[in-house]
Amino acid sequence: MLAYIIRRILYAIPILIGVNILTFSLFFVVNSPDNMARMHLGMKRVTPEAIENWKIERGYDKPLLYNEETGGAGALTDTIFFEKSARLFVFEFGRSDAGRDIGYDIQQRMWPSLAIAVPTFIIGLLVTITFAMLVAFFRATYVDYWGVILCVVMMSISGLFYIIGGQYLISKVLHLVPISGYDTGVSALKFIILPVIIGVIGGIGAGTRWYRTIFLEEVSKDYVRTARAKGLSELVVLFKHVLKNAMIPILTACVSQIPFLFMGSLLIESFFGIPGLGSYTIDAIQRQDFAIVRSMVFLGSVLYIVGLIMTDISYTLVNPRIRLS
């Protein structure tokens, strides 16, 4: 397994280089260093000299990908791409174009994101699996029929509706928790409850439908019939046998998501004033802060690759017949 993991990590390097080139190209097709300077220096009284100084100070005065003026390796290394990307591979994110330490910002912002995302993920998983099992248990009955309709309705409603509706009902009408905000330690709980509830409710529709499909496929298999023939109760059949065997597709969906919990949720964090990573990238794109954009895309790619590797490893844990080679 170790050899497999090392091989996957080595495969990741060209993927990450490719992702970097793509991000770099897309960013600079839309924004030129002059545009970035103008955005950072503001709208009023910006002189060409100030733009030039800004570019020089941040190394944006160099050629993008290939430096014709320098010979040898310098043609590739003395470029914006190399200077801004090489250090990412040792997780040195450097400073944002506005001067902030990106690594520090990520460290600070990932905890609030995790504080929302982890309970939402775990509780959401438990709730949706339970609902899906319930619907599967009552398959081909009115409970199943109306359950699926309810799921489709819940899926069709925009996440924004849950957020605004939740804030209106729970915070504005019932006055049970703060509308928005964040704090550290125990005091964070009162801020976390509502976004977690909304995150869980918002995910029930799609999750339940997805897991219901998996469970229905499993319950029609021979081993389930055998379990029933042994005289096991339906609950034992479902929770002990069906659930265990349905774990592979569930893991596929879940384990790959775990690393992304760090990245947070844009909408929830914006509306609840959670100082997480959810809006970090979007804000950076709007501010044309390439340093943050490339760092966050790089981090996202790494987390994606880590998620896939974790998924593969988890297969072997739930199904010993699977061997990684």
């Binding site: 009023k44 009284r45 009552f138 409970v143 804030q167 006055h175 703060p178 509308i179 709980l189």
Partner: protein, 742 residues
């Protein structure tokens, strides 16, 4: 085993509930987002939607940055809080500086000397004695007077993450040299001050100083990898000199009467050289320890927490020199209770907490719950807040009146206009044809309707470039733009579309088509429209020109492309705006000054308007003192601009502010940056209102829980029945088969 798991789960759930009770069920309302210990404290609550980028006073230039540094730094002058028109008064200065004028030979000239005789002006500014800086580690010294933190080895910074991590702080008296140091900082290549270009035209020697400093900085940068510290105290600047401990002198080329307004802005606030030395140490920048994040000032407040991802907190500066609330203002200020605190020492509020609030809906709801003390009105909440009467009068809704909320409106010293690119061959130029075409379009573009539809009536249609509240603005009949409006029954009335069509025909486009070729006239609006609301606005623009049978092609583009088009002069019609730096007509009329053309000079004249009659008048007007002569020239200039119509004058926005009853001394002041010190709150009343408005309603939550529990009962019954049926089905076939066998 199962029991153990159950017990473990129960313990977790119990622990979670206890934590929940600890965090939520504390004193006061459950939905209070602030710590219970702050309930009756003298704290003002506000928010920020986007973190301020720069808090260095030499660099900051945005209103969201000034909201903080305006309270921390003290430039020599400030605006009177209550008087209108806006009036400058001393802040750190002992008195208003009086410029002295000199000719090229160095002889002093009288105050009314002609501008062209004046070679340079001298401003001697004497500051008050005894002003001290806020406590700051950059000023911490040992008993021998040596600075404690000016030679820190990198290992000493290992456990330092914020300024509060330094155990010692210090202070010292403000001296004139700190003001001179700040002026020199404007020229530092790493500071990127936005006004250095403008100031280098006036402050004597600033341009060569910039070159010299840049060369020295590059030299030091080449010698070392770490950022080179440049001690500006060793580099004299002719235009900014220390006269004595409390007096400094600024020397300006020629005459620049608007300079005093700049002296009220943070660009000219004092900066102790110790701060530059402190922050320039290796390792500081990497930890975000710099002037952009940790200001050092003498003002009423100091930034004690700077976490732009969550919260920023201003706290009372314990070393503040003190100031009293003004005792005079406008006639109605007394009736409004704005003079009740006259003579009282300021600031009134101990602490100001700014929380990150990106969305307007949560902000608005928290304001209604009493968790924010003041609010603007977003378009989402406009109908909940304000009723607009048939006469256009505005009043608060009954719900808000019942809560004791008050509304104050003020016309902003800003202008938002639709500009024509005067270099465009179709719509631009000073020919009679082009002028009439622009006038026709100006009449058709019904900004009264625009204000009503798109800004909920929060604006007044502009008659020229100068907004109300600025010298040169004229009200009433003499203030209307006669090319677009008539004065009818005591108010301006937009000219008819027939008049616009007549002008269009005279311009050579009868019926919206070129008289020579018969081709329909296409006009192009270059715009950056991204939101869903923009579509309605774009449709409205098209509809306006359809009144003249003209077609408007909208060239929607991103911000970068739009900026490039403007710089290259490729846009035809565009939307633009300007917020006043200071309350002087020069700050608006320069937007139409030829040498400020965007294409040729990279200036702020976005329309590239260049009129050989207008420009000399501007040169004359900008150096004049306010008075009838200046007004006469301004009238001439505005008249020319109205005739040439390089802009459709658009609108001056109206600002609506809502204040809770416990929020005192609120008066919109669109020029002053340091208004926080004047505000007072009644925290006891606020706590009462919060409790009254936010009683938790628990029964629906209990009902839902009960329903969920009750809902499980049929599920259990059905499950048991199903299990029973399954058993019977399993047993019955077996019996049947046994019977068959027998």
């Amino acid at each position: 085993m199962q029991n153990t798991r159950f017990e473990l789960g129960a313990k977790w759930a119990g622990g979670y509930l206890v934590l929940l009770l600890l965090s939520g069920c504390d004193q006061g309302p459950w939905n209070n987002p602030y710590p219970p210990s702050e309930v009756q404290k003298n704290i003002l609550y506000s928010s920020f939607a986007e973190r301020p980028k720069h808090l260095d006073p030499a660099r900051a230039y945005s209103s969201n940055e000034y909201a903080f540094i305006g309270q921390i730094y003290e430039p020599p002058l400030q605006y009177h809080y209550l008087k209108r028109p806006y009036t400058l008064m001393p802040l750190a200065a002992e008195a208003m500086p009086q410029p002295k004028y000199f000719n090229a030979e160095g002889l002093q000239l009288p105050d009314d000397a002609a501008s062209d005789e004046i070679a340079y002006s001298i401003y001697d500014i004497r500051i008050k004695q005894g002003i001290r800086y806020q406590p700051h580690p950059a000023l911490a010294t040992d008993t021998a007077g040596n600075y404690l933190y000016h030679n820190l080895p990198p290992e000493d910074l290992e456990n330092i993450f914020t300024l509060a991590d330094f155990p010692e702080t210090g202070t010292r008296e403000l001296v004139a040299a700190d003001y001179v140091h700040q002026i020199k900082r404007l020229a530092h290549p790493r500071v990127h001050s936005p006004i250095v270009g403008l100031m280098s035209d006036y402050i004597v020697g600033l341009k060569p100083y910039m070159v010299a400093i840049e060369a020295e900085y590059q030299k030091r940068l080449g010698e070392s990898d770490t950022p080179a510290f440049l001690d500006l105290t060793h580099f004299p600047l002719e235009g900014a000199e220390v006269v004595d401990r409390y007096t400094y002198r600024i020397k300006l080329a020629g005459k620049y009467p608007q300079f005093v307004y700049w002296l009220s802005m943070p660009f000219f606030a004092p900066m102790p050289p110790e701060a530059d030395r402190f922050y320039a140490q290796p390792g500081m920048e990497e930890k975000n320890l710099n002037l952009h994040w940790y200001p050092i000032g003498t003002g009423p407040y100091m930034l004690s927490v700077n976490n732009p991802n969550r919260q920023m907190i201003l706290e009372r500066n314990p070393n503040y020199h003190g100031e009293v609330f003004p005792g005079e203002g406008e006639a109605f200020d007394h009736e409004d209770g704005l003079l009740e605190d006259a003579g009282q020492p300021m600031p009134f509020v101990d602490k100001v907490v700014y929380s990150l609030e990106k969305e307007s809906i949560p902000y608005w709801n928290k304001f209604l719950q009493g968790y924010y003390d003041t609010s603007g009105i977003s378009s989402d909440s406009f109908d909940q807040a304000v009723r607009v009467g048939s006469e256009g009068d505005v009043a608060l809704t009954d719900d808000l009146i019942a809560k004791g909320i008050r509304l104050r409106t003020s016309v902003a010293t800003s202008t938002f206009y639709m500009g024509f690119n005067m270099r465009d061959p179709v719509i631009g130029g000073l020919s009679d044809r082009a002028r009439k075409l622009r006038q026709a379009v100006s009449i058709a573009m019904d900004y009264e309707e625009f204000i009503s539809i798109f800004v909920n009536g929060r604006g007044i249609s502009a008659q020229g470039p100068i907004p109300p509240g600025i010298f040169g603005y004229r009200d009433g009949e003499q203030g209307i733009n006669p090319y677009v409006y008539d004065w009818v029954r005591g108010q301006p009335k937009r000219k008819s579309i027939d008049e616009a069509k007549r002008l269009l025909a005279e311009a050579g486009y009868p019926g919206g088509a070129d008289a020579k070729t018969g081709e329909p006239l296409l006009l192009h609006l270059d715009i950056t429209a991204t939101g869903p609301d923009d579509k309605a606005r774009l449709d409205w623009y098209r509809k306006q020109l359809q009144k003249l049978d003209l077609q408007l092609v909208v060239r929607n583009t991103d911000y970068n492309r739009f900026q490039e088009k403007m710089l290259q002069g490729n846009a035809q019609i565009f939307i633009w705006g300007w917020n006043a730096d200071y309350p002087d007509p020069e700050n608006f009329l320069f937007l139409l000054y030829g040498p400020q053309g965007k294409v040729d000079h990279n200036g702020e004249n976005a329309a590239n308007y260049s009129n050989p009659e207008f420009d000399p008048l501007f040169d004359e007007m900008k150096n004049m003192a306010n008075g009838p002569e200046r007004q006469k020239i301004i009238d001439q200039m505005v008249g020319m601009a109205r005739r040439d119509a390089p802009w459709i004058w658009g609108l001056h926005p109206k600002q609506f502010g809502l204040y809770h009853e416990w929020y005192k001394n609120a008066k919109p002041n669109l020029m002053a940056n340091n208004t926080l010190k004047y505000l007072r709150i009644d925290p006891v009343l606020r706590a009462e209102r919060r409790t009254q408005w936010n009683q938790p309603v628990v029964w629906p939550a209990v009902l839902v829980a009960v329903l969920l529990i009750v809902g499980t009962v049929p599920a259990v019954i059905v499950y048991r029945r199903k299990e029973h049926q399954s058993l019977k089905q399993k047993i019955s076939p077996s019996r049947e088969s046994m019977a068959a066998q027998s």
